[in-house]
């Protein structure tokens, strides 16, 4: 009788701990996946590069550290040469890590070139 009661209490406690662990695990997965959403990186970099272009003067070359986004695209099996693109016709910076992409316009009439090398993006601006 006493043993049965002890077993019941043990099972309840184990279930309680397991449910708590599941809850904590689910929260952890949610926070982790939220922090690794690609579109946040895509949007941030597209806007950053567009602002750099608009703020630059002709014949400027800007070097930008983009190691984090390169690492993400390698994990995502994305060709690193396809991450950053300039849409010359529409004057847009297009950043893509996964299947989707994010585009942001700049208002300057510059000829912009982007070159990725060893985790650094070289932004060349010509009139």
């Amino acid at each position: 009788m006493v043993n049965k009661k002890a077993e019941n209490i043990g099972l309840e406690e184990v279930m309680f701990i397991i449910l708590n662990l599941i809850f904590i695990f689910m929260l952890g997965v949610f926070v982790y996946s939220s922090g690794h959403r690609y579109f946040v990186y895509e949007e941030t970099y597209a806007k950053q590069i567009a602002l750099i272009i608009d703020n630059a003067k002709p014949d400027m070359v800007v070097l930008m550290n983009v190691n984090d986004i390169v690492d993400l695209s390698i994990k995502n099996n994305k060709n690193i040469n396809d991450i950053f693109k300039i849409d010359e016709k529409e004057k847009r910076v297009v950043v893509s890590i996964g299947e989707s992409n994010y585009a942001y316009q700049y208002f300057s009439n510059y000829n912009v070139s982007l070159q990725l090398n060893n985790g650094y993006l070289t932004i060349g601006i010509k009139k």
Partner: protein
């Protein structure tokens, strides 16, 4: 026996209380993380500031006013793309010299000028963000010239899935 029953009842209350605590913690974390990552990164005010700086740089040289600007001056000399400064576009700028008595020109969506005044008074999320620049320059005769530049940007980036 009574003690045991009380203990069991208090355990049930405790587990209910614990579920409530977990629910509150979960809701707070999900709401906070969701709000943080879904927040739009709005750089329109920075764009407006940059545009105002570009216009000012373009019409001045070491504190002196460059005089020869005409209607197409800004697009030929300031490397601004004309397509983005037409009616219905995302950008707008207005340049006034001596309160508009000497020179007054504006490009882009003119409704943004009114929107700038409104958004100063009311917190309008989807309105254009504006920037103002007031400068004193010297003209070729050595006179003090008052420059007023108003710019606005209202671009929403495009996410393509």
């Amino acid at each position: 026996m009574i003690n045991n029953m009380n203990k069991k009842a208090s355990e049930k209350i405790l587990s209910l209380w614990w579920i409530l605590v977990l629910a509150v913690i979960g809701t707070v974390i999900v709401t906070a993380v969701g709000t943080y990552y879904s927040a739009a990164i709005n750089v329109n005010s920075i764009e407006a500031e940059i545009l105002a700086g570009r216009v000012l740089m373009c019409i001045s040289d070491n504190g002196y006013l460059i005089y020869d600007f005409n209607q197409s001056y800004f697009f030929n000399n300031c490397s601004l793309d004309r397509r983005f400064f037409e009616r219905g576009s995302n950008y707008f700028f207005k340049l006034s010299i001596n309160n508009g008595s000497d020179f007054n020109v504006s490009y882009g969506d003119a409704s943004n000028e009114a929107n700038c005044i409104i958004s100063e008074k009311v917190d309008a999320k989807f309105f254009a963000k504006c920037a103002y620049k007031k400068e004193n320059l010297i003209d070729r005769n050595g006179n003090n010239i008052k420059i007023f530049i108003l710019t606005s940007a209202n671009q929403i980036g495009r996410k393509n899935v």
